[in-house]
């Protein structure tokens, strides 16, 4: 009886507490302490943006920032749903740079002409351009990117192979990488020759096709005509499919798992982004080095670029505060550096970029020797942006499926033709 009573009491208490909590949750979210809250939404962990939010709040005591992380895979769906419903509860959100045209076309980005001149002066020319659409500034760039070739120094040593140099003039070819990779597999017991971090992502694959003159994959005056069946695309994708068919790269391993395979000594080469620099450096027992991303022997050197900008929701009722937060993160050296304090990405801001590059040089170890020079060279000479089209969102999805199928054994030419037909049908609706 006592047990029954206590259980009842427990249930009653839980219900009362929960109902109280529910009612409390119904109350409106007025800014705490009289400070206006800027509501910021993005795909990164809270830790990534903590330094920039703290820095901004210190510099602007009348404002605070409420960051809402959204799982990366759902970011675009959540934005599409909430912005198309004229949601006023988002002030600032992260904008994947190749999606600026599509977001602008849907009316999801505020016109930022008011800060155009300051932005042009503060950020790199390429990053300014990518944040505009139809000559209007639509968002403020925060990060840019490039890719490096990372190698496992111990495995190469074990195989008796000289490691690639950091000088872009001595850039290795993909063909050479695979030849050395095979040799390392035979002599050191590595399981694979090469790991590509962004396997099914257009960002990681575009440089292969561009290197062989295949173009971006989108053409036409309105940039709504697929061009993924060019000779360059077919040759690059045939090479890509063979990489997995020959067992030189693993099937069934997702992008996020590739870095773990590399640091576990399963492959001598890994092509990945600058965010890996920090993660690799923290592994004391791991001996690695950095070199420029390879190109095809008969092709030109091409590296991926672009990253994230931040935009203001046109339905936000705190646009002024939102712009102040974005200006701090994008247009000031201090704010821009704070955006990369927790995750070593490349800042779009010129001053912050110089400081970032100088820090890379100053703190260079044997593993990161020459990284700053590689980064400067690639961004200036070999970087190719993703295509600017209002149909990029659909393009990325369709091509992602094609890359995955080719990686898993589909014949490249036929699969690219299928993707092309799919894009024609999909883009018909956007014309």
């Amino acid at each position: 009886m006592t047990g029954l009573l206590s259980r009842r009491r427990l249930l009653g208490t839980a219900l009362a507490a929960a109902s109280g909590a529910a009612l409390a949750g119904c109350a409106d979210d007025r800014p705490a302490g009289g400070r206006t809250a800027v509501r910021f939404l993005g795909p990164e962990t809270a830790d990534t943006f903590r330094p920039v939010i703290r820095g901004f709040e210190r510099a602007h005591p009348d404002l605070r920032v409420e960051y809402t992380p959204v799982p990366p895979a759902q970011l675009n769906d959540v934005l599409q749903l909430r912005l198309s419903a004229n949601d006023t509860a988002i002030d600032v959100y992260c904008v994947d740079q190749p999606r600026v045209p599509a977001l602008t076309a849907r009316g999801f980005l505020t016109d930022l002409r008011a800060v155009d001149r300051r932005t042009r002066a503060a950020v790199s020319q390429e990053q300014y351009g990518i944040s505009t659409w139809e000559n209007v500034l639509r968002c403020l760039p925060v990060w840019t990117s490039t890719q490096y070739l990372f190698y496992n120094a111990d495995l190469l040593k074990k195989a008796g192979v000289t490691a690639p140099g950091a000088d872009p003039a001595d850039r290795w070819s993909w063909e050479h990488i695979l030849q050395i990779g095979r040799r390392t597999m035979e002599r050191s017991g590595a399981d694979y020759a090469l790991l590509i971090e962004q396997t099914d992502a257009y960002y990681g694959i575009q440089p292969l096709a561009e290197s062989l003159g295949g173009g971006s994959g989108i053409t036409g005056d309105d940039m709504l005509t697929p061009a993924v069946t060019t000779h360059g695309w077919i040759a690059a994708m045939t090479w890509y499919g063979k990489l997995f068919a020959d067992g030189l790269s693993p099937r069934g391993v997702s992008s996020f798992e590739m870095a773990s395979l590399f640091t576990a000594g399963r492959a001598p080469f890994f092509v990945g982004g600058p965010w890996n620099l920090g993660a690799f450096a923290s592994l004391k027992a791991f001996s690695w080095g950095t070199a420029p991303q390879p190109k095809f022997a008969q092709g030109r050197a091409v590296t991926p670029t672009d990253s994230w900008s931040w935009g203001i929701n046109p339905y936000s009722n705190r646009a002024d505060a939102a712009l102040r937060f974005m200006e701090y993160a994008s247009l000031t050296t201090e704010g821009s550096l704070a955006t990369i304090a927790a995750s070593p990405l490349i800042p779009s801001h010129r001053g912050a970029f110089d400081r970032y590059a100088a820090d890379l040089d100053r703190n260079a170890t044997r593993s990161t020797q020459g990284v700053a020079a590689i980064m400067r060279h690639e961004l200036a000479e070999t970087a190719v942006s993703r295509p600017r089209s209002i149909g990029y969102t659909q393009f990325e999805t369709v091509m992602g499926s094609a890359f995955s199928d080719i990686r898993n054994g589909s014949p490249a030419e036929a699969r690219l033709a299928k993707a092309s037909a799919e894009l024609v049908r999909t883009w018909e609706r956007l014309r």
Partner: protein
């Protein structure tokens, strides 16, 4: 001795007789392997979780360098609050949802009113439409009602569950009418009959309906993503999703979060599963 001699051939064939049991145990163990792998991964440093992905060995499920760091780091962040939110949302949903479902089921099982069949058909239909199909327009409505980022917004869609009403109605139909008539003769009102006769007799069905409501809320992902994204109102599954950033993922923490979010419903289900089975048997579903 003669008996012993007679029994020994039977013993020899017993492994064959037990083959289905042995097969069931082996298959059961195979099913637990992924769970053990996740548990082992949650006890490893983040960079080592996927390192041995393709070479399955005993080390895959037994961490030799076990550490609780992932759990400590996890609960130092917002994950603990998200789990608590999930518990609160699921508890309120179960309590309020059971009350509503039981009264609705009672009405459908006991009262003979015009249109009863139509009402029951609508309820049947309601749980055959996937919730995700109506989540987007419903989210717009909730936003218009200013229910986003509130507990009420998270809880309300889970309360009216057609399957729970169906389960309880089927169970209530099996309660002998004589009991109701006797209670009426003794002067008991309908509320008293519901509370003193139907509810005590239907404990297994109530537990089954409660579990249905609980699992609906606990596994909910799309809805809280649309309506409760603010950190203070985030639920466990969303917090798990946000542990993965765009560039870097700490799989140790992701696995630890997955373990926490699995263990809680596992304990609830294991504790109450025998009532659930009884209820399914009694509801005519089996």
């Amino acid at each position: 001795m003669a008996i012993e001699t007679h029994r020994s051939p039977r013993r020899r064939i017993s492994p064959a007789r037990h083959a289905p049991l042995i097969a069931a145990v082996v298959i059961g163990l195979l099913f637990t392997l992924p769970l053990l792998w996740v548990l082992a991964g949650s006890l490893r440093p983040g960079d080592q979780v996927l390192a041995g992905l393709e070479t399955l060995s005993w080390r895959s499920v037994v961490p030799t360098d076990a550490t609780l760091d992932n759990y400590l780091t996890l609960f130092q962040g917002d994950f603990g609050r998200a789990v608590l939110n999930s518990v609160v949302v699921a508890a309120v949903t179960v309590c309020v949802g059971l009350l509503l479902s039981a009264t609705a089921a009672f009405g459908l099982a006991v009262f003979d009113f015009r249109g009863r069949g139509a009402v029951f058909a609508v309820i049947l239909l309601s749980f055959m439409i996937p919730f995700d199909a109506i989540a987007i327009p419903l989210a717009s409505t909730f936003r218009a009602w200013d229910l986003q980022n509130t507990y009420a917004g998270l809880i309300l869609p889970g309360i009216g569950n057609g399957l729970a009403i169906f389960l309880l109605r089927q169970f209530f139909l099996a309660v002998p009418r004589e009991l109701v008539e006797a209670a009426r003769l003794d002067g008991l009102g309908w509320w008293g009959i519901f509370r003193r006769i139907y509810l005590p007799l239907s404990r297994p069905a109530l537990i089954a309906a409660g579990l249905t409501l609980f699992t609906f809320q606990w596994q909910s992902y799309m809805w809280p993503l649309l309506i409760g994204t603010e950190p203070a109102k985030q639920l466990g599954p969303i917090a798990l999703g946000t542990l993965q950033g765009q560039m870097v993922v700490d799989y140790g923490q992701v696995f630890a979060a997955a373990v926490v979010l699995t263990v809680i419903p596992l304990v609830v289900l294991l504790r109450l599963q025998r009532y659930f089975t009884q209820s399914i048997a009694g509801s005519g579903l089996k």
